[in-house]
Amino acid sequence: MTEAAIVVEDLHKSFGSVQALRGIGFSVPRGTVLGVLGPNGAGKTTAVRILTTLLRPDRGRAFIEGHDVVAEADSVRPLIGLAGQSAAIQEELTGRENLEIVGRLYHLPRARARSRALELLDRFNLVDAGDRTARTYSGGMKRRLDLAASLVADPAVLFLDEPTTGLDPRSRIEMWGVIRDLVKGGTTLLLTTQYLDEADELADDIIVIDHGQVIASGTSDALKDQVGGDVLEFVVTDPARRADAMAAVTPLSESRPVLDDNTGQVSVRIGRRGSDALIEGVRRLDQEKIEVRGLALHRPSLDDVFLALTGHAAEEVE
């Protein structure tokens, strides 16, 4: 089957005078990960809430595995799992009880709900903490438990709304590992994030949302190419030699190198010529006997992409 797991057509949604979504559309092939990237208030959560049957769109349609999320919400719900921005677990209950109750609400027989809870605790490395109340869990453990709860019924399509927002760096990396393993099993995943490295790390395809519209889409590499490829950077140690350094590397690029007067850092856009341009740059600087430090080939981050596309940085809060 080549049919897409998620199809979104021209969704609009307003809250009073605020237009949260202004006609977004995309589709997600089965078994792939779509990263929905955008700053706070871009409309990511609104889109997820419509796709998970929590909110009705004002206009447009969306389908999960061929089922309309508004007209056939009852058919959509058994197919999806949702883990939101806040961990939707009960802190007064133990990890096991949290999962068992979700299992029973999915109408698993009691014994099956119990064994499924144990399976998931095991899979998410929570067995030892399984009989402690979730209040005692770390932030990372709570998110893992919440993710486990969204997987109780083994959903075909999973929605993770900012799964690592608020986690410390170590827990984030841990969470990424968990999500990567999950996707190997063939689950279709829609992941929203405001962290550019997260989309880069986890998603097959990325769409960038700003002010309720899709402003770019493609693979991480394709998006990076849009801002002009790689950048060679180095710092000239002797301020007197900055002009010479600029002259030396100018032939490497069609556009002029950029010099930061404060730090002495020179940046040269070298497109896709990668290491060839790097070697040539080193050779030319060496010929002129110019001392540099911090020489590096810089792949544009999605931050650069975002800035190029929207004119404002990604983490900016409106």
């Binding site: 809430r49 998970t52 049957t53 929590l54 009852d74 719900r77 058994p78 999806i80 949702l82 939101g84 921005q85 806040s86 961990a87 939707a88 677990i89 009960q90 007064e92 209950l93 009880e97 109750i101 979700v102 029973r104 609400l105 999915y106 109408h107 109340t133 709860a149 969204s150 019924a153």
Partner: protein, 256 residues
């Protein structure tokens, strides 16, 4: 359809069970629901009781007991709203609504658990009441009916409260709002003092508001008095509350 109904019942029961476990795990909740009514009981009986003259059978303690039970039924509603607002804030309700469970179960499960809690509180109150001299004067039937009416009052107040929790959605605002509507209704009523001791303008309100009607009926059932008039009025008030606020609460739940 019967399949759906069966799931609605089972899902509601799962939610009741969950909510009862939650309640048992938090010592502060237990304090609030059991110790607080006892505190009111002792406070009014021993501190204010000497200064309050009532013309009813059995003296102030027998007047007070149905009042405290009615007040307790009304106060149960605080936690209904707070718990629902908390569940919205922590995202639990989003998860439940995205699952193929019965739509009604979150609300029914909440009210069911709150009702069980109220039943426990009433039992404790009656036990302590007996220890400090309270007696039923009207026989077993009316006594049982009094407990049932108290539960119905609790359910009605909790339904109103469920709507405020789902509509306001913010735990602290809900808590503040609860004080604003529950306190005046409860204290400007026949719960603790005979209404004819209040100034005239306040009597007009106190005499005609539902909590007074409820408490008059609880009192008549416990210690005797005309049963039917206030029973009818109570039933009509409760029916109206269930229809209006039940509908509003369900609509608010759908839109969370």
């Amino acid at each position: 359809m019967t399949g759906r109904l069966r799931w609605a019942v089972l899902d509601s029961w799962t939610m009741v069970e969950r909510n009862v476990i939650l309640w048992l795990r938090v010592p502060a909740y237990i304090m609030f629901t059991i110790v607080q009514p006892l505190m009111f009981m002792v406070l009014f009986k021993y501190v204010f009781g000497g200064a309050i003259a009532v013309g009813t059978k059995g003296g102030y303690v027998d007047f007070l007991m149905p009042g405290v039970i009615g007040q307790t039924a009304a106060f149960t509603s605080f936690s209904t709203a707070i718990a629902l607002a908390k569940e919205i804030q922590q995202g639990s309700i989003d998860r439940f609504r995205s699952m193929p469970m019965a739509r009604s179960a979150v609300l029914v499960g909440r009210l069911g658990a709150d009702l069980l809690r109220l039943l426990l509180t009433i039992a404790v109150l009656l036990l302590v009441g007996y220890a400090v001299g309270f007696r039923f004067h009207n026989g077993l039937g009316p006594a049982v009916l009094m407990v049932i009416l108290a539960l119905a009052i609790g359910l009605g107040m909790a339904t109103i409260s469920a709507f405020t929790g789902l509509a306001i959605k913010d735990e602290e605002s809900v808590q503040a709002f609860g004080l604003i509507w529950v306190f005046p209704l409860t204290f400007v009523s026949a719960a603790f003092v005979p209404i004819n001791t209040m100034p005239g303008w306040l009597q007009a309100f106190a005499n005609n508001q539902p909590i007074t009607i409820f408490i008059d009926e609880l009192r008549n059932l416990a210690i005797g008095g005309p049963l039917w008039l206030h029973l009818w009025q109570s039933a009509l008030w409760l029916l109206g509350i269930f229809i209006v606020f039940g509908t509003l609460a369900v609509r608010a739940y759908r839109r969370v």
